[in-house]
Every structure is written in C-alpha cells, then in structure tokens.
Amino acid sequence: MSTIPINTQESPPFLLDLIYRLKVKDVMTKEVITAQRETPLRQIQYIMKEKGITGVPITDDEGKRLFGIVSMDDIIRALDGGYIQDPAERWMSRNLIVLEDDMPLQFAISYLDKFRYGRFPVLNKDRELVGIITSRDIIIALLVEVNKEVEKLEQRIVQPPSKPGEEARRIYHVRKYDFENAGKASAGIKKLLMERNLDPKTLRRISVAAYELEMNLIVHSEGGTLTFRLEKDRVEIEAKDRGPGIPDVEQAMEEGFSTANEWIRSLGFGAGMGLPNAKRVSNEFTIDSKVGEGTTVRAVIYLPGQSAS
C-alpha cells in the first residue's frame, strides 16, 4: 500500500495547514459498530459482511471501553485454522494503536503510513471509544476541503477586474442539467442586492430575469456562465453558453413556445414563458445566438431614481 502523499514538507501550505487544522474527531466515523468479548468470530464475520467494514472493535456492553479489535485478517486466519466459532476474546488483537480525538488529522495520516493498519480506533480524554477512522474517512474529508478551496480559487481567477463605474460583479458557472444547484446563482444575486436596500419591485424584476436565464442555461444549453454586473444606474445580467444555439430566436421569444420534453416539464419547466418573462421585466433585452456555437442573452434593468445613460 502506498503512502498518502501529502504529509511532506513539499506539500502546499494549504494542505499542511489543513491536516493540522482538522482534528481526528472532525473526520472520524462516530457510529462505531462494535462487538463484545464473548461474540463468536463467525458472528463478527457476518457483521463485517453486512456492514461492509473490515475491522470491529471489541468493547464492553456500552461500547465505551476498548479491549481489542478483530480485523478481516483475523477472520481469514480463523477460517483457515478452523476456530471461527471461538469467542472474539481469544483471538482479537490486543496491541492496539489508537488515536485521540483531539489530535490533528496529520497524526492519523502518519499512523496509516507507519503502521499499515486500515483503521484506528479513536478514544477521548477519558479513554472511551468515540470513533473509528479509516483512510476512506480521511480521503473524503480532504476532498471536501480541497474542493471548497478550489472553488474559491476559481471564483478569484474568473472575476475580471471591474470596469470604471462598476460597483459589483459576479460570475456564476452553470452546468447542464444541474438541477441540484438550479437557482443558486440568482439567489446569490438577490442576496447581494438585498444588502443594498433596493426597492422590492426592482429587486423582483431582476430576480425574475436572473432566474429565467439561469434556468435556460441549465435546461437548454450545454452549460455556461451567468454574469451579474451592478452599476450606479443599472443592473446587467448576461447568460452566455457554449451551445447548442437557438435556430429561430423570434420563435423562441413567443409566449408558450418551448422545446422542453416531458421529463423537463415534470420538473416544472417548459411553459415557454421564460424568455418573454425576462424580456417583460427588462428595460433592454437582446439575444445573440448562433447554432453550433452558443447563445448570449443580455438583460438590463434600470435602477429607479436614476435616468439611464
């Protein structure tokens, strides 16, 4: 088994920082499946199979005091040696390497490298069993954190410097059929504007335009970006995608025209009202589309009290 390649001085500072910042208790599995000393190895074999695990700590009835651990290796040896009916106590490993829940994750990583066990029981200050940690737990936790960081970096890279007169700009990446995140970009735009005490009517018009354009990216396009720009007297929302393009823009603008299929309609889209809605709430509205290349829809909404330039 190769070692986890992040425990070195050459690792990026972010990763080093991460494995010291995260504690074993943030990463471990807290619902530990245990067995008792008198549990037959055969039953532990079944538990492993049923729960898909490779090690079972042996504890008192409350699952707190740890006496040993039975691993898949112990079970294989028991099957070989013909003593699978014996109680766990006779054959469990007693020389336990354990971790403490307050230790930094770095300890768990170096233990996994050093001791070549697949898992370590985790004890609290009172020496009670509170969790178990495997390389899988660690990989998942690290991936989650690294993903968050990459997302932050991406945001920073794609936010171009603002133009003069621009007060805020956000670029959201929108993926095809990503209904899980559908509406998050427009919700983000709305939130940003709410902090600026915009009047509710204008806020609603902007939200409708942003939402309809975001949904069209998800439902009809190959994916693209939703860009929001706030200037002194106006808000601009631009949806730009990578295809497939709209063959007949005039027709697409008709109320009720939709190419959405049954399953899209079952998700609540396809009234053919999105583009007309967005146009109705906008002061300026343009669509540029080329089949095979993509579509750019731009909606501008003037802010009240400001005459548009």
Partner: protein, 113 residues
C-alpha cells in the same frame, strides 16, 4: 383571504410554518405546475397551488414574494424543499385534494365575498 381560511376550508397538513404564519393575508391564488407561469404573475402575496414538489417551487415563491405554497394530490415535499422553505420563511402545506377541487373551494369563498 387569510391563510386561516385556507386551513379551514381545505383539509391539509402544515409542513413548514413560514414567516408571519399566524396573520398571513393572501391576495390571490396562482395554480400551475410550470414555474415560469407563476413567474408571469404581476402581483405578490399569493398562494401557489401546485403538484410540483421540488425546490424550484420554493425558489419561485421567494422570487415573486408568494408567502405560501400548497402541494396538491397528497404530494410530499422532496428533501431539499423543506429545508429551503424554512430558510426562506415560506409556509408549506400539503393536501390530498386535486388542484381543481382546491381552486373550486377557495374560488367559491373568494366569490362570495
């Protein structure tokens, strides 16, 4: 029409009690399973009657300023829907009745006023 009226006239269960639940005043009703239809509404403060049980309903309600959603046909909300309704403070109800029955019952009440 008070939300209370809806609760009295339509057999329904309350899934989420949103902002101002006790004195909610509803100006009208919009019934549709397609959210862009709902987004054409010019009013706000209406009740959304729908059989669509996805997060998009709550997002739509939030955008148009509809304080309450009534799921028909005994539809139960999908996972994220409840969480989002709580986050946005939108009241979420569910009834076994179909859309037309709900609209008929509430429509009769509104007409009689």
């Amino acid at each position: 029409m008070k939300l209370e009226t809806v609760l009295q006239r339509i057999p329904c269960t309350i899934i989420v009690k949103g902002k101002g639940f006790d004195e909610l005043d509803l100006r009208s009703i919009v019934a549709s399973d397609l959210m862009s239809d709902v987004l054409t509404a010019v009013d706000d403060r209406f009740l959304i009657v729908t059989s669509l049980n996805s997060e998009q309903v709550i997002r739509t309600a939030d955008i148009v300023g509809a304080p309450a959603v009534l799921l028909v046909n005994g539809k139960q909300p999908q996972n994220g829907m409840v969480r989002l309704a709580e986050e946005f403070g939108i009241t979420l109800l569910s009834t076994p009745l179909p859309t037309y029955k709900v609209c008929y019952l509430l429509g009769c009440f509104l007409e009689s006023k």
